[in-house]
């Protein structure tokens, strides 16, 4: 599999739309096009192999299932993961002659995507820094009362940042990276330590993604329980995700009712104030 200039340019365009902060906006750009699963579909369409694209996207999505960026601090860049990492992973998987559905292919895709995503944070800082120039123009316009320039500053000028830090890097990395990745095959034999480590890292990395999420949810040790119940449902009972989600709903309802009883209790203890409290709740 090779990547043509046109295909690389299309990937570059999607990288501009999908990044955080991207030209597709937050909901459509970052949280839709930027998710590796969606990126996998789009890269698959552009490169003409949807199946491989989705499978590489799925592998990477698990690692980045909770890419929370509190206060604009990033540990990975979505445009790099989805539109540089996935295409290169697809090329690598094909070059190694792996079945895209195999665990091996998943491991390779994950390692490559994560490496690219981490290095790609440079692009995030580049974009955010260049945007300072446009904001500078914006502040001058606000001072002068030339308010319509705000639209130019917010909606149009950042495209320049993205041509420099999304489009061009993606174009070049995808075009040149594809042959580099193919050459890698000859440089590193499959049964060597380096490749074995690469695949193993690929299997371990998703643990970090899940752990980041757990960090969000878990405050006390008891908060681990829903996680392990879900884990057991899938690992031991073999339920799929939709079924597990359905079962979780009943627990959520019970939990909600219990919490509300706790909330309402002080009002009941208050005796005559009972009615007033209820009205406020509604």
């Amino acid at each position: 599999m090779s990547i043509s200039w046109l295909q690389a340019a299309l990937l570059g365009l999607f990288a501009s739309l999908a990044s955080m902060p991207g030209m597709g906006g937050t909901s459509i750009g970052n949280y839709t096009l930027g998710r590796p699963l969606v990126g996998g579909l789009i890269c698959g369409i552009i490169l003409g192999d949807i199946k491989t694209g989705i499978l590489c996207g799925v592998a990477m999505q698990v690692v980045y299932i909770a890419l929370v960026t509190p206060g604009g601090t990033v540990s990975a860049d979505v445009r790099a993961i989805s539109y540089i990492g996935i295409p290169l992973a697809m090329v690598a998987v094909k070059a190694q002659g792996l079945d895209p559905a195999s665990v091996k292919a998943t491991g390779l895709a994950t390692s490559m995507g994560t490496l690219v995503g981490t290095v790609g944070t440079v692009l995030f800082y580049g974009t955010a820094t260049l945007n300072l120039v446009w904001q500078g123009i914006g502040w001058k316009a606000v001072e002068k009362g030339d308010f319509h320039k705000i639209y130019t500053v917010d909606f149009i000028l950042p495209w320049i940042s993205h041509i420099l830090f999304s489009f061009i890097p993606t174009l070049i990395m995808c075009k040149l990276g594809a042959s580099a990745v193919t050459a890698l095959k000859n440089a590193l034999p499959m049964d060597g330590i380096a490749m074995k480590t690469l695949f193993t890292v690929g299997a371990l990395l998703p643990c970090v993604g899940i752990a980041i999420l757990l960090k969000q949810i878990v405050e006390t040790a008891a908060d681990f329980i829903p996680f392990f119940v879900g884990f057991t449902l899938a690992a031991s009972l073999g339920l799929n995700l939709v079924s597990a989600a359905c079962i979780s709903l009943i627990f959520a309802v019970i939990y909600y009712k219990l919490e509300m009883i706790k909330v309402e209790r002080p009002a009941v203890a208050g005796g005559y104030d009972d009615d007033d409290e209820e009205e406020e709740d509604i």
Partner: protein
């Protein structure tokens, strides 16, 4: 003087400017400030015909703003309502009240939005989508694109309008006791789905086996572990990563580098061997 009332069209264009542009001109210095200015401009232009009044009103929104932009729509809606009140000469609506409210809300809403939307809703949707992607099926990605965007667009629109109609009261639903109960209940769904995602899509396996002299395997560590609890090794590695980040305050990148070392050593001693499985 007739009371000024924002038209539906103005509110809608204000909302759409925020929906699209909340982060497009992001910088570390001013984050969502320009998105906010772009969202307030249609409002200010409709309420004030005098250029100096417009200038004064716009100046209010030059203050720093950053929150979780999707749930943050509610704040933009609230300030649209406040600006309308100010244009009608209502007492007590000043730069200080508006910016005090904005500054006071952006922290808590960022926390709620990050944990509820980015940390729960999106992973749950993605988890279900992953389940539909078996064997490279594009159905999962399509499911996510449609469901997420409908929820995000109409959810944000709802939040914006509620903010405009109810003002500060709109936030009470989110931060009040009922909101907290809902958040905790949703957290249970999130936890369980993530557990199922981990068990389904993450697979850490050891290849460590002990063989007798004739080369027959008499102890396969992976089998033993799975007899105790299926997926034990996967769960152990997840907890290890959680512990390193939550308790040892390591950054995700440090933990990833540590995993590279663990993988390398593991391959050397024969604990990990991805190739043996085929």
């Amino acid at each position: 003087m007739a009371e000024k009332k924002l038209s539906k069209k103005t509110l809608s264009s204000s909302f759409h400017h925020w929906y699209y542009g909340n982060l497009t001109c992001f910088t570390q210095e001013h984050m969502q400030t320009f998105g906010y200015l772009a969202a307030m401009l249609p409002i200010v232009e409709e309420l004030y015909s005098d250029k100096e009044d417009q200038k004064k009103a716009m100046n209010t929104y030059t203050a720093f703003f950053n929150t979780e932009p999707q749930i943050g729509s509610i704040v933009v809606g609230i300030t649209a309502g406040l600006e309308e009140a100010r244009a009608n000469g209502e007492d007590g609506v000043t730069d200080e009240t508006i910016n005090g409210l904005r500054a006071g809300l952006m922290g808590p809403l960022a926390g709620i939005g990050d944990s509820l939307i980015v940390g729960t809703l999106i992973p749950v949707l993605l988890g279900i989508a992953l389940g539909l992607s078996n064997g490279g099926n594009p159905l999962g990605a399509i499911f996510y694109i449609i469901v997420w965007n409908l929820l995000a667009y109409f959810g944000m629109r709802f939040a914006y309008n509620k903010g405009y109609e109810l003002g500060g009261k709109a936030v009470e639903v989110l931060v009040g006791p009922q909101g907290q109960a809902i958040r905790k209940a949703v957290g249970v769904v999130g936890g369980m789905v993530i557990g199922a995602v981990a068990a389904t899509w993450v697979s850490v396996k050891t290849s460590l086996e002990l063989k007798n002299s004739s080369g027959k395997v008499f102890l396969s560590l992976q089998k033993q572990l799975d007899n105790v609890y299926p997926g034990l090794l996967t769960a152990a590695f997840i907890i290890l990563c959680w512990w390193l980040m939550a308790k040892k305050k390591m950054s995700p990148i440090t933990v990833m580098l540590l995993l590279v070392v663990i993988a390398f050593v593991g391959v050397l001693v024969g604990f990990f061997d991805p190739g043996l499985k085929y």
